[in-house]
């Protein structure tokens, strides 16, 4: 009798779950560990977008947040967990390219569409059908950075700091080097790895080459320390970095040492052009009491692009959704007008920001093909 009762209880719960009819979307982000600031920022953006559009195809959207602990193995595990245990129809994630590479492999194998808000390494989507992104890719970011260094900062001699553990950093360094050499500049490289804290040896080597610009392609925790130790060794030139610097923690950890640092990134609220972009800034300020950062906007866009693709697909068929994501054209998002090409990469402008008075400030925008 008790067993029967239990059975009925479980059955009714199961039926309730079906009757409720939600669309589950997995959000896989680094919520703890080295680059947790990035995870937090994207998550805020995704949540805001969810409030903005809480339903799709007449069903409620449920977000399932999974933490990859800023580790490559967890990045893959979290995606597998989202698909096998949570049965999500699609995934938003991840941030670091090395994480998206590990997680994307799983999503591709299991045939679940994945939209990365901010992974810029070309390999993330290359040869895949299900993985796309709403951000530009590093060949463009690297060349925009190189041109900015050469033309705007008038640099002729650059030393690059490459984080050997991050695909993003290795790729971005290479693309920057290619363009900068083509422009006629001198460029060389030194290496470190994620989690390093002492950079004086690399800096001593780097500074002995008298660079005008130090270009750091890693993430904010190391960037902040490199800048601090470079200034302590008497370096007075420019710092330039990629979008890996774009978290408020850069300024918190780097303090006065990162003042005047330039970085290529996706967004600045001052550069918001679309109607929804302005609305996003307003809503964001209202909800979180500060200006949105690039990753807030990208998280927001990743969600909206995905929901839009599901709507166009007209069903929850993963193959159709993945196809529709790649047919996104002139979609108005917070970061601008988004078009995703057949390889799953968004064609977008690079924004260049700087740190001024302890805040991120807008410098200029570089559009592709100019």
């Amino acid at each position: 009798m008790r067993k029967l009762f239990l059975f009925i209880l479980i059955l009714s719960f199961a039926l309730m779950a079906i009757a409720e009819d939600v669309v589950k979307i997995g959000v896989v982000l680094p919520m703890t560990g080295g680059i947790s600031a990035f995870g937090k920022l994207v998550w805020e953006g995704v949540q805001l977008a969810h409030e903005f559009k809480p339903t799709v195809l007449g069903k409620k959207v449920e977000l399932v947040l999974l933490d990859n602990r800023s580790e490559k193995t967890e990045a893959a595990n979290a995606v597998a967990r989202a698909i096998d245990k949570e049965h999500v129809v699609a995934i938003i994630g991840e941030v670091a390219s090395s994480h998206s590479l590990a997680g994307g492999e799983i999503a591709e194998k299991k045939g679940i569409p994945m939209v990365s808000p901010a992974s810029t390494n070309p390999l993330v989507t290359q040869g895949k059908k299900f993985v796309s992104r709403v951000c530009f890719i590093d060949p463009f970011q690297g060349s925009a950075g190189a041109e900015f260094a050469y033309n705007y900062l008038k640099a002729r001699n650059v030393v690059i700091f490459t984080d050997i553990e991050q695909d993003y950093s290795v790729g971005l360094s290479k693309f920057f080097m290619d363009t900068f050499k083509k422009l006629g500049g001198k460029v060389s490289q030194v290496f470190y790895k994620t989690g390093d804290q002492e950079f004086s040896a690399q800096l001593t080597v780097a500074l002995s080459r008298n660079p005008d610009v130090i270009y750091i392609t890693g993430y904010y925790p190391e960037i902040a320390l490199i800048c601090q130790q470079a200034r302590a060794l008497g370096y007075t030139g420019y710092f330039l970095t990629g979008d890996g610097a774009d978290a408020p923690e850069l300024i918190e950890i780097g303090g006065e040492a990162v003042e005047g640092l330039y970085f290529t990134t996706h967004y600045h609220p001052k550069g918001a052009v679309t109607k929804i972009g302005k609305e996003f800034v307003e809503k964001f300020r209202e909800k979180y009491g500060r200006d949105p950062a690039a990753l807030n906007a990208l998280g927001f866009d990743a969600y909206l692009v995905l929901i839009d693709a599901i709507e166009r697909a007209g069903s929850l068929d993963p193959v159709k959704i993945a196809e529709e994501v790649r047919k996104t054209e002139n979609f108005e998002g917070a970061t601008g007008v988004i078009t995703i090409d057949e390889h799953g990469n968004a064609v977008k402008s690079v924004v260049i920001n700087t740190v001024k008075g302890g805040k991120f400030d807008y410098v200029t925008t570089v559009t592709p093909g100019t």
């Binding site: 703890t32 080295g34 989690g195 004086s200 040896a201 080597v205 918190e252």
Partner: protein, 302 residues
């Protein structure tokens, strides 16, 4: 390599080596007296950083007071750890205490994750307007010696002086030395052994806390696993110099820091493997001279 470059590398090595030395001293002191490798040492350093951070951020104490309060907090934590985790194992085989120490290290890290959060925090806020000192340097030739390096060496020297004074000139120091040679006999002489061992841990933790000050000044980003790598490196430094020997720990720390820096600057191809070299050193030392550079051959007590 030019003279300036060599000098600069030496300065860099002294900075890093000084930090290792300061941590290694606490490690080796506890070992020398209790024959216990306290793997939680690095994590106590991490706890000091959090204590000091919150003493300034939440209680808004002035920096110097916050630092001192946090040092006493860490010392008390060391005392508490001994009471809870090590005391019940006083008569157990040495390996049990060692495993407990590793467990304690994991516990402190996880505890910090739960209580303080797993994200990076910045120590710069604590310094506020004083953070300029972190970037000041003295020009010698064309090489730059950060003022922080001088502070680190000064603090290491001062801590050593105080430590030697306590161990060799005070009553409790005499009891500590007595315990290091024979615990039961010391107890028979009417010494409160548990109190003295507790004090030893408190002293070791205070040293860890002081190294935490220096560490946080040099590397202002911290999170619950901040103590892990420095703890391991300092352990290597202590073994390198001969575990149990305080001058050995200082020498080992400086040498290890110097080697790490020189490897990166002389053989840039292996920059990303510099941590591996520290462990290679550990293996070589254990193979060639297990008692370390300045350690004495120890007779196992029967």
């Amino acid at each position: 390599m030019t003279a300036t470059l060599i000098l600069q590398n030496i300065f860099n090595g002294i900075m890093l080596g000084g930090l290792y030395a300061l941590i290694a001293v606490g490690y080796t002191m506890v070992y020398g007296i209790l024959r216990l490798i306290n793997f939680a040492h690095g994590d106590i350093m991490m706890m000091w950083i959090y204590f000091a951070f919150y003493a300034v951020a939440l209680l808004s104490l002035p920096i110097w007071l916050a630092f001192i309060v946090a040092i006493f907090g860490s010392a008390f934590l060391g005392f508490l750890i001994d009471r809870i985790a090590y005391k019940p194992l006083r008569n157990a085989p040495r390996i049990s205490a060692l495993i407990t120490a590793i467990g304690m290290s994991f516990f402190l890290e996880s505890f910090a994750v739960v209580v303080f959060g797993a994200n990076y925090k910045s120590f710069l806020k604590v310094f506020g307007k004083h953070q300029e000192i972190l970037r000041k340097y003295i020009l010698i030739g064309n090489a730059r010696l950060p003022v922080l390096t001088i502070i680190v060496i000064g603090i290491t020297a001062l801590s050593l002086l105080v430590l030697f004074w306590i161990v060799y000139k005070t009553k409790i120091g005499m009891a500590m030395r007595a315990i290091s040679s024979d615990i039961p006999t010391t107890a028979l002489m009417g010494v409160n052994v548990d109190m003295v061992i507790g004090f030893t841990f408190a002293l070791g933790s205070a040293l860890a806390a002081i190294s935490g000050i220096m560490w946080a000044m040099r590397y202002p980003n911290f999170f619950p696993y901040t103590g892990f790598m420095p703890g391991l490196k300092a352990f290597i430094a202590a073994v390198f110099g001969g575990i149990g020997s305080i001058p050995g720990a200082v020498l080992g720390g400086f040498l290890l820091g110097m080697i790490e820096i020189l490897i990166v600057s002389m053989v840039p191809q292996v920059m990303e493997y510099k941590d591996a070299f520290a462990f290679v050193i550990l293996i070589i030392v254990l193979l060639v001279k297990p008692s370390g550079l300045m350690g004495q051959k120890m007779m196992e007590k029967v």
